[in-house]
Amino acid sequence: MKPTFKLKINGKAFAVQAHPLERLLDVLREQCGLSGTKEGCGEGECGACSVLLNGELVNSCLVPIAQAAGAAVLTVEGLASKSLSALQKSFLEHGGAQCGICTPGMLIAASALLKTSRRPNEKKVREALAGNLCRCTGYQNIVESVVGAHKESR
């Protein structure tokens, strides 16, 4: 029988049965019904699967569920509340999303940055999002969305 792993996802307790090597990405999408986290490459290159694991930005395609046992996970669903966050509003305002496949990862990577740096400049934003690929926007609008996010929070 597969072992049970307990973890807290977006503040809610989950107990999932999975093979220890199963990817956190698949557990989130297939067992927890959290399909906001996307799979792009499956090999750590694109960032579409970004989540925060105990507050740290990780690629969930590279994390076996055994390494998330007991951890707190934040997915893009956990960023949403009744009203849009400053970051989400800024993405809308600056046209930071087109097809949307990279967007959950971009939002998670951006929120990892905004936790440590409240008003990051463009250089800092580009560094923080370097592991997140987008084939639509050409990045400029995404960078502007994140740089502009602090204005929304006033």
Binding site: H19, P20, L21, G44, G47, S50, L57, L62, E127, G131
Partner: protein, 283 residues
């Protein structure tokens, strides 16, 4: 195609002792997973029995002693970059960490994993070689420490024996007023595998080089020191013609190849230019 999880076993041991017993029985360690999970995704992960060493506290932590620092094998790139003392004493190691992958990789990838994976293109080994690090290996029968320069022995061939894993890497503080040089050349600034990576350390006394180490990655089947070049420089006064001689001798130390990332010719030129650049800074 991706491997099937049920073809593998992944055990999370409670202690280092338990982990080492499993490893002695033939299991393979999994640390941050940033190399192994890629192999799993590609369907080419050959080790079926895995031990999750990520939680083992004996393999974690950064410890300063009087004249050296010991980095646990599980030290991540982010932990290196967040430690102000490591960054100030070992700027080349910090640069290797800063230029490895992007944030998500830096948060998970470990120094021990980078070394053990032994890619010829890995970014930390040249810095560790230039700092003349030592590496401590541990097994169910005890620890042994060897100079890191003896660790890489051939393409993906290392000094790790059956039943052993890396416990820590120790770096002696460089001498005061040492000069250092680190350069990674890739296709883009972040998340690119190196076409060329170099690290150099020099110390000059009375106008002469009394210490010179030059280590390279992506230029040979394994990360290595350039002994011919070093020998030419060691004990001498840096001057235009000596620089020329050193650069001409680089071809005796390296054997760059053509591959998907670059060509042998390009790599040779870049390697030469980097060496020249460092030596001209010492003029």
């Amino acid at each position: 195609m991706r491997g099937t999880a049920s073809d593998y076993s992944l055990v999370t041991p409670k202690s280092l002792c338990e982990a080492l017993t499993l490893i002695q029985q033939g299991a393979h360690p999994l640390a941050g997973g940033t190399d192994l999970m890629v192999l799993f995704e590609a369907g080419s992960l050959q080790w079926k029995s895995l031990v999750n060493i990520a939680g083992l506290k004996e393999l974690k932590g950064i410890r300063f002693q009087q004249d050296r620092v010991e980095l646990g094998a599980l030290t991540t790139y982010t932990q290196i970059l967040e430690d102000k003392k490591v960054v100030s004493h070992f700027p080349m190691l910090a640069e290797s960490a800063r230029l490895t992958g992007a944030w998500a990789i830096q948060n998970r990838g470990t120094l021990g994993g980078n070394i053990a994976n032994a890619s010829p293109a890995a970014d930390s080994p040249p810095s560790l070689l230039a700092y003349d690090a030592e590496i401590t290996l541990t097994s169910a029968t005890g620890d042994r420490t060897i100079p890191y320069v003896d660790f890489h022995q051939g393409y993906k061939k290392t000094a790790i024996r059956e039943g052993e894993i890396i416990r820590s890497i120790t770096l002696p503080f460089p001498r005061r007023h040492s000069h250092t040089y680190f350069r990674k050349v890739g296709t883009r600034n972040a998340q690119a595998i190196s076409k060329v990576v170099v690290a150099g350390l020099a110390h000059i006394i009375g106008g002469r080089l009394d210490q010179f180490r030059w280590a390279v990655g992506s230029l040979a089947p394994f990360p290595k020191r350039c002994r011919h070049v070093e020998k030419i420089l060691w004990g001498n006064r840096v001057a235009k013609d000596l620089i020329q001689t050193a650069c001409d001798n680089l071809k005796n130390d390296i054997a760059p190849i053509d591959d998907i990332r670059s060509t042998s010719t390009y790599r040779m030129i870049v390697a030469r230019n980097c060496l020249k650049d460092f030596l001209e800074q010492l003029l």
